[in-house]
């Protein structure tokens, strides 16, 4: 079972929403499509579901064209896909069990009911079958929506910001349960989210989208450790960004000199805030830069320190462990972790 996009482009009026988008999701794979709001990720999902008529390109389900240019266009009801909506879209006039059985055909017999019931059991909704959606909490509604989408054994699963309506405590638990169930079902999963942490956590592969185009598709570790460009690096965590001209193979920044690939005229240096180390001014390290703390505060798991580099206007932000950061005014030394420092030729 696979879902494939081939050079898909889509626009609303003269506003382009998706441009030359190609991506394949394999059997049992979870791909998270992530990007800032308005980047076109929801359009991709709607095109896959058939809720939007394809304009250019091809969408294949199990190798057969579900939509191709403006010719073939399977209506959503013929695609055999499962879609979980951001607002769950439960049918308010149907009970939980009727919602789950909706996609199981007209004559939902005992067999269907058993399947629906076991799905509900699996999601911890055993006693909820006869209740109506309005009597359920957000988390319960979310799980009913998931059960409803999974019930007809869809060939592919699409999820549109499925967890964004839940509060943080609930979100972690529901997310883990949902992931386990989706993995078990084994169909390709395409999940759209604007939350980078969620994407990293759920995905086998993360697909980062910006202004209608894919920027990078890779495993969460690769996306974080080897981002394709400054946008991807910044999207998955707070960063410092410095740009400068390359002279003699290196670029000069307020926090030191960095070696650039040969043949680049100028480069941008991106250092994760968590990759900036703050040491006492007196510590003897080779590549340290002298700075003065401007603002510092503890935010619980770590502390945020803004320091101004001596002899420069530039300010550097560091996320350091512990909750006793150096006080404002204190002189410190800054150094950078090479694994969290990225140099992008410009």
């Amino acid at each position: 079972m696979t879902l494939a996009f081939e050079a898909v482009s889509h626009s609303y009026g003269d506003k382009s929403a998706v441009a030359d988008f190609s991506l394949t999701v394999g059997t049992g794979e979870v791909v998270c499509l992530v990007g800032p709001s308005g980047c076109g990720k929801s359009s991709v999902l709607r095109l896959a579901a058939g809720l939007e008529a394809l304009q250019r390109g091809r969408i294949l389900i199990d190798g057969e064209a579900a939509a191709e240019n403006q010719g073939v266009n399977l209506p959503p009801e013929a695609r055999r896909i499962g879609l979980v909506f951001q607002d769950y879209a439960l049918f308010p006039h149907l009970s939980v069990i009727e919602n789950v059985c909706f996609g199981l055909g007209r004559r939902s017999g005992a067999e269907d009911r058993r399947r629906a019931t076991s799905l509900l059991d699996r999601l911890g909704l055993a006693g909820y079958a006869e209740r109506y959606p309005h009597a359920l909490s957000g988390g319960e509604q979310q799980r009913v929506a998931l059960a409803r989408a999974l019930a007809p054994n869809p060939r592919i699963m699409l999820l549109d910001e499925p967890f964004s309506g839940l509060d943080i405590q609930l979100r972690d638990r529901v997310r883990d349960e949902a992931l386990a169930l989706l993995k078990e079902a084994g169909s390709p999963v395409l999940l759209v989210t604007h939350d980078p942490q969620e994407a990293m956590r759920m995905a086998d592969r993360v697909a980062v989208m910006r202004e209608g185009s894919l920027v990078q598709v890779a495993s969460p570790a690769t996306i974080y450790g080897r981002p394709f460009n400054a946008f991807v690096a910044a999207f998955f965590g707070a960063v410092n960004r410095f740009a400068g001209a390359v002279t003699g193979g290196t670029v000069e920044t307020p926090i030191g000199r960095f070696v650039c690939p040969p043949g680049t005229a100028s480069a941008e240096v991106v250092v994760r805030c968590s990759g900036v180390t703050v040491l006492p001014a007196t510590a003897a390290i080779a590549a340290g830069v002298q700075a003065q703390v401007v603002v510092s505060k503890s935010v619980g798991p770590f502390s945020v320190v803004d320091a101004q580099v001596i002899g420069s206007e530039a300010s550097v932000r560091a996320h350091i462990p512990g909750n006793t950061p150096p006080a404002p005014g204190e002189h410190v030394q800054l150094s950078t972790d090479p694994a969290q420092t990225f140099i992008f030729p410009q």
Binding site: G50, A65, V72, P75, E77, A78, F102
Partner: protein
């Protein structure tokens, strides 16, 4: 079969051209009567027409003009003042008046005309009482004649002001208290705030209300006919039946339609001029000005007068008459009349709701410019007066009948007579055209509350568009559809001119019978039928009052 082939098939069968096609056909059918009437302008004038121009046309225009001015002013003042009082002032009985001010909506204009004529003409209890009290005879005093243009717009204003009241009230309620408070802080008094801020903000709504009242007044036939005020509607009726000239009747209809379109255009223009947006979304209930002393008395009077003269007085008179005459009047034939009215209204309501729901769903499924245009066109009937519509339906139906008859005589050697015109089918067709807008707006508003992802969920779970409509939308918006049906039902029950012109031979309804009795000066005898219609008319008032209670912004619902 490959999936792709299957898909092509499904898309032809399910979500293909069927839906837009349905919308276009409905729009075309609704447009036919209007087009027939408008195109009659290009037909050569008959002798009857030049006779009409020489004798009565001037009077029609003059009476129509005064009717528009009179009803316009009286509904404007009554509706706006009462709406302002109940939304922003606090005085005893306010809650009751809020609902009671809608009651005159239940009284058809012909009903109030009958009762007022009975009460206030020369032989009525009022004038007789005055004569007895002061020992006057006919020459000794002057009493405003009820059988006059003045009488006509007076009684119509009394039952039509609720249109203005409803819309103005909604507009005043929507106004955030912040805007009014800003005006007060900037140094305006409460009265100045009303005139300079609240009233201008509510103007588009008020104009729409007046336009609706005027359209009702222009389409009225029963009241003006009974009060002997010659207008276009009575002229159309007389030209059709009295002079037997459908073409001139159609030309008169075209002139009336032109007047209606002018009013619609003015309404559009007024709305287009001033598109106000509420700058704040923070809603706090209006605090309400506590009225005391003479102001309180005035406010209660201002609200009580329209209710008394628009509902209690005519309703009471009808009740008195009905109690007196019901023993003779309510018999087997009355029951048959009632059944005719109810059956006709029920069928028309069911058809209108079915078409409106399909149309609204088609527009949701395939939004496009031609689709929007089609639904607009399909809703045009509400602006077409009943008598105009009757002419617009009968003329083409008769044409089709004659063609069929010609063909049958030529080919089969038999005469088929009239198949379409003069049948209940034609009548129901006219009702649906006239009241489709009522049901369409209600169905559309119901569908708008169903989020698009509900559609998406049903579709991705394997239900086609038709199945989705049946299994998801119809059950979800059932309440709205019942409301839509009730509104059409009541409107059909009240409808007089189209029924009068189009009913099959020897077929009668409550409204027609009431008209006939009143026409024969048997006002008291007509009361049972009229009262039945008024009672049915209270249903939409009840629905509206519930909607008002439920939709009060800021209230927990």
């Amino acid at each position: 079969m490959t999936l792709a082939a299957l898909g092509a098939r499904v898309s032809r069968a399910g979500s293909g051209r069927g839906w837009p096609l349905f919308a276009f056909i409905v729009a075309a059918l609704v447009a036919v009567p209007v087009l027939v009437v408008l195109l009659s302008v290009f037909a050569p004038a008959t002798e009857v027409w030049s006779h009409l121009v020489d004798t009565v046309l001037g009077r029609y225009l003059e009476n129509t003009f005064w009717l528009v001015v009179g009803v316009g002013l009286s509904t404007l003042v009554t509706g706006t003042v009462t709406a302002w009082l109940v939304t922003t002032c606090r005085f005893p009985g306010r809650r009751i008046f809020e609902i009671a001010l809608l009651l005159p909506l239940a009284v058809p204009s012909y009903a109030i005309a009958f009762t007022y004529a009975g009460l206030f003409d020369f032989a009525g209890p009022v004038q007789s009482g005055l004569r007895e009290l002061f020992g006057w005879s006919r020459q000794d005093y002057w009493f405003p004649p009820i059988h006059s243009t003045f009488g006509a717009f007076l009684v119509m204003g009394l039952v039509l002001y609720p249109y203005v009241y409803l819309l103005a009230r909604a507009a005043f309620l929507e106004q955030s208290v912040c805007v009014l408070e800003a005006s007060r802080v900037l140094g305006r008094s409460a009265w100045q705030s009303f005139v300079q801020v609240a009233l201008p903000l509510a103007r588009p709504a008020i104009v729409t209300g007046v336009a609706l009242a005027l359209m009702e007044a222009l389409s009225d036939f029963g009241a003006v006919d009974f009060l002997a005020v010659d207008t276009f509607t009575t002229g159309i009726f007389r030209t059709w039946f009295g002079l037997g000239d459908p073409q001139s009747a159609a030309q008169l209809s075209a002139m009336l339609l032109a007047v209606v379109f002018v009013i619609l255009a003015l309404e559009r223009y007024s709305r287009g001029q001033a598109k106000y947006f509420h700058t704040t979304t923070r809603y706090r209930p209006l605090p309400g000005y506590q009225l005391n002393g003479w102001r309180r008395v005035l406010a209660i009077l201002a609200c009580a007068l329209p209710v008394t003269f628009g509902f209690l007085l005519p309703g009471g008179q009808l009740l008195v008459w009905a109690i007196r005459t019901a023993p003779q009047m309510v018999d087997a034939s009355f029951v048959r009349l009632a059944w005719n009215s109810v059956a006709l209204a029920a069928v028309a309501a069911a058809v209108a709701v079915a078409i409106a729901t399909t149309l609204a769903y088609a527009a949701r499924l395939r939004p496009s410019r031609p689709m929007t245009l089609s639904t607009r066109l399909a809703s045009i009937g509400y602006a077409v007066p009943g008598s105009v519509l009757a002419v617009g339906v009968l003329v083409p139906f008769a044409w089709v009948d004659n063609r069929i008859d010609d063909w049958a005589r030529e080919v089969l050697g038999i005469s088929t007579g009239l198949i379409l015109s003069g049948t209940l089918f034609a009548l129901i067709f006219a009702y649906v055209v006239r009241f489709l807008a009522v049901s369409f707006n209600t169905a559309e508003a119901g569908l708008a509350k169903v989020t698009p992802s509900i559609d998406g969920a049903a579709r991705t779970l394997g239900a086609g568009p038709r199945e989705t409509l049946r299994r998801v939308h119809v059950p979800m918006i059932g309440g709205s559809l019942i409301t839509a049906g009730l509104l059409v039902f009541v409107d059909v029950m009240k409808e007089l001119p189209a029924t009068l012109i189009m009913r099959p031979f020897n077929f009668n309804t409550l409204a027609v019978r009431a008209y006939e009795l009143a026409h024969d000066e048997r006002l008291a005898d007509s009361a049972s039928a009229v009262l039945a219609i008024v009672l049915v008319g209270i249903v939409p008032v009840y629905l509206l009052s519930r909607a008002i209670a439920g939709a009060r912004p800021g209230s927990s619902s």
